[in-house]
Amino acid sequence: MIKENKKGTEHPLSLLANQAYQAFSELGFEIATGPELESDWYNFYVLNFPKDHPALDMQDTFWIKTALPDTFLNGDGGLPGYPEKKDSGRAVLRTHTTTVTARAIEQAGKDGRFPCAFISIGKVFRNEATDITHEMQFFQIDGAMVGENITLADLKGVLTHFYKKMLGGDVEVEFRPSFFPFTEPSLEVFAKFKGKWLEMMGSGMLHPNVLRNCGLDPKKVQGFAFGGGLDRIAMIKWGIPDIRLFYQGDLRLNQFENEN
């Protein structure tokens, strides 16, 4: 049976991204976007990664070899303005979309938009050996809420809401101690899906150094941030066995539907 093309089929990560945007929009989050080719400032140093520190090893990075013209780093290309406080001024492929979160809360500070909440989903890159759970490129979902009195309890509420929306109302969500340079306290989020506890994302309260680096006053505002793989949610939800399947351009992958 050959059917006539009617509506095309969606890539599962797009389906899931829209579902995730929906879940956060319900809670008042604004969608944010940003460049994939980033400055090391927004990828690392604005986020309180110290230079020459083991924490940098946590995210194996693709540094750009090609010398990019200053104009590129100053906004003529994809990068909207390299900050004056630029560090070594090297370009990287972003290792997380926390870069977008940092840019968004920095802008919110300039515009005096507090409280605020941002969500971004985008492609990120890690320089690591690929296997069924590791890929050089994947999608990350990242967000933050900043205001006068945003707490860890709010972080727990928002992320519990999110995973119930994504994986079903009966899913359990748990928070365990962790470490990230850009959050203090830092927590790892786990979800219990089909009887198994699975590591879902990193989260925590934004470190005061990050707020300061974004031009905000940690005495006046505080907030939470989170970030984790979207591919991973898709793999768990739909039983997709290999992360590399997402980027083969193979339509056999487009067999899932959004239940919402």
Binding site: M1, Y21, F72, G77, A153, F179, E184, M205, G249
Partner: protein
């Protein structure tokens, strides 16, 4: 790091059973990656593989460190081993040690004579094997026990190789060569530190790897024990440049407290005295130019509660500080604490929020949904992408995603083992491949003809651009997102 339950029990005899302990660690300290129940010679043990977090790597990559943490967490007794460390009265020494490199923060040494290299006692072998280490000989094992027990890297040299009993830590000369243990020769530069005698013989790449020159042999009878402390960044850079990864390097790059060195020296001496009862100990030489400063930290219970979204009481905080043996002054709900030397991770008030949160347990924080007065704006890029996607989907096009990396392009990425070192300059090349693949599968997919699209970024030396590409038959049309929308 691998932690043996039986080893922990030396220090916390009242510890709960292994599986319960694993949960305590998971929910209050760090992820337990695996718990292995083992039975060796009728003796049970649990081996925890704990993913110690980077901010605690300076004090928890050791059995005593983990035991101390658990004793405080569970409010159970910690058995201090130091009173048991017995060392015969030491004699005056002629050993001279100098620090000539500013990145060496402490340098301790001690001559021990009349030792005998041989097998280790059974408990030493058992301890080492339980965490996947191999017993080598009694003296080398003693240094390894010290490292895995208290966290301080330790090293032993053959005294007969050290001329005039003079040793120094200095920056290497550019081009200076040293043969490391295992026989490989490394060429150093002046950013790296070396431990050497006054005649240019290098004994050790400081903090990174021992040298072959003063390696112990079966004939060794006199030795120098060494415990030192180095600047973490210097060690990290040296190891990176020389491409050497050792346990000592990992520990030093996580910024150990220099205070730990004297503890390590005491434990190492006691172990060797126990293994070689005839050994003669000389006085410890301790070069410690700038003592680690005592730090104080103030925090308020109300601020901690505001961060956590949990009402924490002053008495709960007091209870925690007492259990963790942290000295404090309290006035109402404000605390000023004197930081124990090992807790280099606690610097700001937010660190205390984490400390108190994880000790109480994050499950105590009840989830809330914040209601915020924020008016989200429409994101233009997202709107354009959605519009393009929906238009193409409604025209019967299906969405694919292909790789950003390609074998040619204008922007090159630093990448070792790959033939795709460039970022794609177009979507067309990837889409062509996708089209071929899907045409083969067309009958299986139930389509009479393949219509596909991709929306994604491309990179040229002019910058990063969002593009849309789709096929018309075998032809690929590619446009900028903005152009597509027109």
């Amino acid at each position: 790091m691998k932690i043996s339950y039986n080893w922990l029990k030396w220090y916390i005899p009242n510890a709960p059973e292994g599986n319960i302990l694993a949960d305590v660690i998971t929910y209050h300290v760090a992820e337990v990656e695996s718990v292995q129940h083992s039975v060796l010679n009728n003796e049970e043990d649990w081996i925890f593989d704990i993913k110690i977090l980077p901010n605690r790597a300076h004090d928890l990559l050791s059995h005593q460190g983990v035991a101390r943490e658990l004793a405080s967490l569970l409010n159970i007794n910690f058995v201090d081993p130091t009173p048991k460390y017995k060392i015969p009265d030491s004699k005056p020494t002629k050993l001279i040690k100098r620090i000539e490199a500013p990145k060496c923060r402490r340098y301790m040494g001690r001559i021990v004579r009349n030792i005998k290299i041989g097998l280790s006692p059974e408990w030493v072998v058992k301890h080492l094997e339980s965490i996947g280490q191999r017993s080598i000989n009694n003296i080398v094992d003693a240094t390894n026990i010290v490292t895995f027990d208290c966290g301080q890297p330790a090293h032993v040299f053959d005294l007969s190789k050290v001329k005039d009993l003079k040793l120094q830590v200095r920056n290497a000369k550019n081009g200076e060569k040293i043969k490391i243990l295992g026989g490989v020769e490394k060429t150093l530069d002046d950013t790296m530190m070396i431990i050497a005698d006054d005649y240019g013989n290098g004994l050790d790449i400081a903090g990174v790897k021992g040298g072959e020159y003063a390696e112990l042999t079966e004939a060794t009878t006199n030795i120098i024990l060494e415990c030192a402390n180095f600047d973490p960044v210097s060690i990290r850079k040296t190891a990176q440049r020389l491409n050497i990864i050792t346990d000592a390097k990992k520990r030093f790059e996580n910024d150990l407290s220099p205070e730990l060195a004297s503890y390590g020296m005491l434990e190492l001496s006691a172990l060797i005295s126990d293994m070689c009862p005839e050994a003669e100990f000389e006085d410890v030489i301790d070069v410690y130019p700038k003592k680690q400063e005592e730090r104080k930290l103030s925090f308020s219970v109300s601020r901690i509660s505001e961060i956590l979204g949990l009402d924490v009481s002053a008495s709960e905080v007091e209870g925690i500080l007492k259990r963790y043996n942290i000295e404090y002054k309290q006035s109402d709900s404000k605390f000023e604490i004197t930081m124990p030397s090992m807790r280099l991770d606690l610097v700001i008030e937010e660190d205390m929020a984490e400390e108190i949160g994880r000790i109480l347990g994050y499950d105590k924080v009840k989830p809330t949904i914040p209601k915020i007065d924020f008016k989200p704006k429409v994101n233009e890029t997202y709107t354009k992408i959605s519009w393009a996607r929906n238009k193409l989907l409604s025209e019967g096009y299906s969405e694919v995603m292909t790789y950003t990396f390609f074998n040619k392009g204008e922007v090159e990425v630093e990448m070792s083992a790959s033939d795709k070192k460039f970022l794609r300059t177009n979507l067309t090349d990837g889409l062509k491949e996708s089209l071929k693949l899907n045409e083969l599968n067309a009958p299986l997919l139930g389509f009479d003809r393949i219509k596909i699209f991709e929306i994604g970024t491309v990179f040229t030396n002019k910058g990063e651009k969002m593009r849309v590409a789709y096929n018309e038959g075998s032809k690929i049309i590619e446009k900028n997102l903005n152009e597509f929308r027109k």
